[in-house]
């Protein structure tokens, strides 16, 4: 481990230079664009304050103010209009929220609407699949709805037209395409919507078209491997609740891979050290630090080649098949030992995009009896998975001039296809190109026709969210623009009358109603399912038969994969941006990456070892060159990266997008290659060269050294089993001027966060942003350390910088009973409430910032500017129950005081006592790991009381005697 220099701008208040044993934080000095600071005051922001400094002008101003003041007595506030509804919907009561069930990206949701406008997303806890879990993209989806960059209706060659004219012209062109004898293609992403699939089937029949599913980053290797192994073209379904051991080779299943909300929910349910089942053990082998890897009990930083070697070694040890491994014997034997001890109760997963590797993984899982226990392969007619090969062939076919028409639904291959130039020239040879994009993207600008589609929250649909559960997508607002559901466009092209809603309803009564029980009519069934949002049915999918097969030949193929010399360029997705389709969402752009804490950018991740050898520092702009692509991006020295591996995130470098996403970073999809029958995400090799330039990254954490204090307390499961207080033995001696029997009556709110359950996924941050109208400040202001997030997640490292252990710690206002901020406020703008909340009163605040200075946790946020609220459409997302803050105001976590008030009022209206669980804070609600608990600590039966009484409970910086109301439970690793 290297020693790191101390930073002058540290997050938590520092004072001493020593570091806790083994812990470390920062990789280098703070990086900041030196020009940024000098630029700051040149934008005219403070022009209004610039007056000539003379006695004369002073008197002028004084004279004016004194004479002007009495006049204010005569001023009436401007006339305000009150415009009622003309016709009011019965269900809408102004000021009362309505909740509707819907789905976004395969996750069942509840959408909160106020006066018919969606403002907040929460998980649907009726779902048996996600159990209320949601991710950051779902949370942010509501802002994408109000994207003023969306297209206002259909266009032909860029010109806006009416739908009738559009339909007629497109119909003619499609008819001609059909008659030409050439191919007609409809390209969608992976679909799991039964009614959409049925409609697309009808469409393909009507136009003799071919349906191809394409994902930028697909799970094709797994699907294809399942076809090879079990003759089932389907993805795996995992059950992490049954797994005692999880071995993941690079799969970021808690962040970006598979259904991460469900995975997190299940995974975390087995991470409770006090449960009778015991904790699961998680081993991660990966070349770059992923969110999932940061949560592993044992994480091994290994190159892609070594990972595959280990997989072969495990196969050989378990089954005797294949050539076996050539290195890393200790890791192989460790894994094999764990797997053998937990037969049928383990999981081996990999995100490898090589088909043969996936076949080997299948065989390993089969050898230890995991099928139909922790893994199932379910075939369903209601799911279509992306097919890399078919799309590759389609592009070739377009290039050869064999395609007459191509319809791109919700896909953007001109951006996310590995060879976008080839795609562009291919698509130019297609005479009728139709895009269904919501706003212009790289593909839609190549299309003649744009059948502008609705946002998910303006759409009817359904999705198969697991093997046996269906979830509804229902519109929660009238279309904001002149767009139309893509399904209705397809219906219109087929000459079908009616709405897709009717189509779907009749499809449900035909296909799903017979599978249900206990409903008198199909309409009853439909209404109940729509109300709940989810419905579980039998017979939606069929288990594939798991037959034994020999994987020797596939293992040999894996062993014979050739690796070029140079640095292995690994691509990955960032938790918030994923593959870039929601890149125009400022909440997601400003969400710090859980590992690097960088916002608004992608960058080249290099290992500390490589950086040292080549004297690369974070922020140095480097050029990364592969055989046929190069990017120039700032470097970031990332602990836990394999020495000869560099990693770049996809999802950036959008050329045609809204103003938020445009020209941020560079496109890394071009590092994908099509090899060995599938799109490979990590097959590129290349070189790195310094350009000599420097570009500071907008990181929210560059130095939060624990400075010798035990901010994160942790222990191992072995120690915990012996002593539940392990790692938490230290108790500071605190003095109190109040007598010991000093009473705190009424509700006393408190929060506890279980660090064992926090994966760092950051869903809570977006939820908090949405709930509390937290401003987006932009890249430069984040670089200036002025991000406004009320809740941040601190990330700490420990141990060897090549194989560090990682801790995630959500940090928010600690609502100290002896709050240091309150003592220093000269205007009493921050004071304590009788129920234990540290209140911030905006209308009293004059912005001295003394409070922020005196806060030991650095959780107070100051409005340095009036942050942009000029986009009227985007303002529709604001929560009307929370006031927006202007320049010069301090703000911070209010413990969702509006939710507390709402919960209490609800109980009062129902003439009952408040129950534990009635009030859920925004962060708590969105936590897919259920790691945040909130409640009344005076209620002895409450969950919070149990958490506060836990042996693992502690408060951060306890020795300061500020007595935080937010406490933490020690992190337990299963070692």
């Amino acid at each position: 481990m290297s020693k790191f220099e101390k930073n002058d701008n540290c997050g938590t208040s520092c004072g001493c230079g020593s570091q806790t044993e083994g812990y470390w934080q920062d990789v280098e000095n703070k990086v900041l664009d030196p020009q940024a600071v000098s630029k700051e005051f040149q934008d005219g922001e403070f022009d209004s304050f610039s007056v000539e400094k003379s006695r004369r002008s002073f008197l002028k101003i004084m004279g004016f103010s004194v004479t002007a003041l009495p006049l204010t007595g005569c001023i009436k506030i401007p006339v305000k209009k009150a415009i009622p509804y003309l016709h009011k919907n019965d269900t809408v009561i102004p000021g009362v929220a309505n909740w509707y069930a819907s789905t976004f990206k395969g996750v069942p949701l509840l959408v909160k609407t106020r006066e018919s406008r969606p403002i907040k997303i929460e998980g649907n806890d009726k779902s048996m699949t996600t159990m209320g879990g949601v991710g950051s993209q779902q949370q942010a989806s509501v802002l994408s709805l109000y994207d003023s960059n969306r297209l206002n209706g259909p266009t032909i060659s860029g010109a806006e037209v009416e739908w009738a004219e559009f339909d007629q012209k497109l119909k003619e062109d499609l008819k001609a395409a059909k008659e030409s004898g050439k191919e007609v293609l409809i390209i969608t992403p992976s679909i799991s919507s039964p009614s959409e699939i049925t409609l697309i089937k009808e469409f393909t029949k009507a136009y003799g078209a071919k349906h191809i599913a394409f994902d930028g980053t697909s799970d094709y290797s797994q699907v294809k491997a399942n076809e090879i192994s079990f003759n089932a073209k389907a993805k795996n379904s995992y059950d992490f609740t049954k797994a005692n051991v999880i071995v993941s080779f690079g799969a970021d299943f808690l962040g970006t891979w598979g259904n991460s909300s469900t995975n997190t929910k299940q995974y975390v349910s087995r991470r409770d050290p006090s449960s009778s089942e015991g904790m699961s053990r998680h081993i991660q082998i990966e070349p770059v630090m992923s969110l999932t890897g940061s949560n592993a009990d044992y994480r091994h930083t290994k190159s892609l080649k070594d990972s595959r070697d280990i997989i072969l070694g495990v196969l050989k040890s378990l089954t005797g098949e294949g050539p076996g491994n050539t290195s890393n014997n200790d890791i192989v034997s460790g894994i094999v030992k764990e797997l053998k001890a937990n037969k049928g109760k383990s999981l081996v997963i990999s995100n490898d995009s090589d088909i043969n590797v996936q076949v080997v993984i299948n065989k390993i899982n089969q050898a230890v009896g995991n099928y139909n226990s922790t893994i199932s392969v379910m075939k369903s007619d209601y799911k279509i998975c992306a097919d890399d090969m078919a799309f590759e062939q389609a592009v070739n076919s377009m290039n050869d001039g064999n395609v007459a028409a191509a319809l791109f639904v919700d896909v953007n291959p001109a951006y996310s296809f590995h060879n976008s130039k080839k795609f562009e020239s291919a698509v130019k040879k297609v005479s009728t190109v139709v895009s269904f994009a919501l706003s212009n993207d790289e593909t839609s600008v190549l299309a003649k026709y744009n059948a502008t589609a609705n946002h998910t929250f303006e759409t009817w649909s359904d999705s198969l969210v697991s093997d046996s559960e269906l979830s509804f997508t229902q519109p929660v607002i009238q279309p904001l623009f002149g767009s139309r559901m893509y399904t209705e466009t397809l219906m219109s092209l087929m000459g079908k009358s009616g709405s897709f809603h009717d189509y779907m309803k009749s499809f449900w009564s035909k296909d799903f109603y017979p599978k249900s029980s206990g409903f008198a009519t199909a309409t009853d069934f439909w209404n109940k399912s729509l109300h709940d949002g989810v419905v579980s049915l039998d017979g939606l999918s069929k288990a594939a038969s798991i037959s034994s097969m020999n994987a020797s030949s596939y293992a040999k193929k894996v062993a014979s994969i050739e690796y070029s010399s140079g640095l292995n360029i690994v691509t990955y997705q960032k938790t918030a941006i994923m593959d870039g389709d929601m890149a125009n969402n400022p909440w997601l752009q400003e969400l710090p990456d859980p590992i690097t804490k960088a916002t608004w950018d992608n960058y080249v991740m290099v290992s500390p070892m490589y950086a040292k050898e080549n004297s690369i520092k974070t922020g140095d702009v480097v050029t990364l060159k592969s055989k046929d692509h190069s990017v120039t991006l700032p470097a970031i020295v990332q602990p836990g990266t394999e020495k000869n591996t560099v990693a770049v995130a996809v999802g950036y470098g959008r050329k045609v997008a809204g103003k938020v996403a445009r020209n941020l970073g560079e496109n890394a999809f071009a590092f994908y290659t099509y090899n060995r029958g599938a799109t490979q995400t990590a097959d590129s090799f290349g070189t790195l060269a310094k350009t000599g330039k420097f570009k500071g990254l907008a990181q929210t954490q560059t130095h939060h050294s624990m400075e010798g204090r035990d901010i994160v307390r942790e222990t191992t499961f072995a120690d915990y089993s012996k002593n539940p207080k392990a790692g938490n033995e230290k108790k500071a001696k605190l003095v109190n001027i109040y007598p010991p029997d000093h009473k705190k009556d009424g509700h006393q709110w408190a929060m506890a966060i279980d660090l064992t359950k926090c994966t760092g996924c950051s869903s809570c941050i977006i939820s908090c942003n949405a709930e509390n109208n937290v401003s987006v400040v932009g890249r430069q202001e984040v670089a200036n350390r002025r991000e406004m997030h009320w809740l941040r997640i601190d990330r700490y490292y420990k141990g060897d910088e090549n194989q560090p252990e990682v801790m995630h710690m959500p940090m928010l206002c600690q609502h100290c009973e002896n709050a240091p901020c309150e003592n220093v406020c000269p205007v009493m703008a921050t004071v304590h409430s009788s129920d234990g909340i540290n209140q911030q009163v905006y209308n009293r605040c004059v912005g001295t910032r003394y409070c922020a200075n005196n806060c030991p946790y650095k959780v107070r946020r100051f409005n340095w500017f009036n942050y942009d609220r000029s986009d009227k459409l985007a303002n529709m997302v604001l929560n009307p129950d929370v006031s927006t803050r202007t320049r010069g105001i301090m703000e911070k976590c209010s413990m969702c005081i509006q939710r507390i008030q709402e919960g209490k009022l609800q109980a009062k209206r129902e003439r009952r006592d408040l129950k534990d669980g009635d009030i859920k804070l925004a962060c708590q609600q969105s936590c897919p790991g259920d790691g945040i608990v909130f409640g009344d600590m005076n209620d002895k039966d409450s969950k919070i009381a149990a958490f506060l009484g836990s042996d693992r409970n502690y408060t951060v910086l306890e020795e300061l005697n500020v007595r935080p109301r937010v406490s933490y439970l020690t992190k337990v690793r299963n070692k």
Partner: protein, 182 residues
């Protein structure tokens, strides 16, 4: 002596001026007595007073949520589709409903954005009559802002003994800032 007298006059004048400024400044933003003209000559005295129509028939939100609400225009026609259809005022309403061009009432009682007030908390939970805050609305032909509606006015009631029974959660909002400001 003359000088002293002059200084005294100046002092008194400055004091009076100062007092005037302070009293005036403290009124900024209060609109007690505000009684604007409305686009429809609707009389609360007629409807709520003479006809004794329950306030919550039109202002149904008062019982359920934050806003009492101006009733949907169509609601007027519940009666006026049959009653007094020839009145020019009713014709305005009918025209608004038919044309889709809504009536723009002038807001009388206005609360600043940084203060949260919930009608149902006072009407439903506390069981107050509307008149407590809105004055004798049943006698007003044109509605006027009866009370000050400033923070001091809120606190007067909330500190008074008539509310605030001691048991914790049933207690009406005490002096905590964030009961209203968030």
């Amino acid at each position: 002596m003359k000088k002293l007298f002059g200084a005294l006059v100046a002092l008194v004048a400055f004091g009076a001026f100062g007092a005037f400024v302070v009293t005036q400044a403290r009124q900024i933003g209060f609109n007690q007595g505000y009684q604007p003209d409305q686009p429809i000559a609707f009389s609360h005295a007629k409807h709520a007073g003479d006809l004794k129509i329950d306030c919550k028939y039109c202002h149904f939100g008062a019982d359920k949520g934050r806003h009492a609400g101006v009733p949907p225009t169509e609601l007027c026609l519940n009666c006026h589709a049959k009653v007094k259809t020839n009145s020019p005022e009713i014709k305005k309403i009918q025209k608004a409903v038919d044309s889709g061009e809504n009536i723009q009432w002038v807001k009388v009682n206005h609360f600043p954005d940084f203060a949260y007030f919930n009608h149902s908390q006072h009407v439903n939970v506390a069981g107050f009559d509307c008149q407590k805050c809105h004055g004798d609305i049943q006698t007003m032909d044109v509605v006027k802002q009866e009370k000050k509606l400033n923070m001091g006015w809120c606190i007067e009631c909330h500190r008074g003994n008539e509310i605030a029974p001691p048991e914790d959660h049933k207690r009406a909002a005490g002096g905590d800032c964030s009961k209203c400001h968030y």
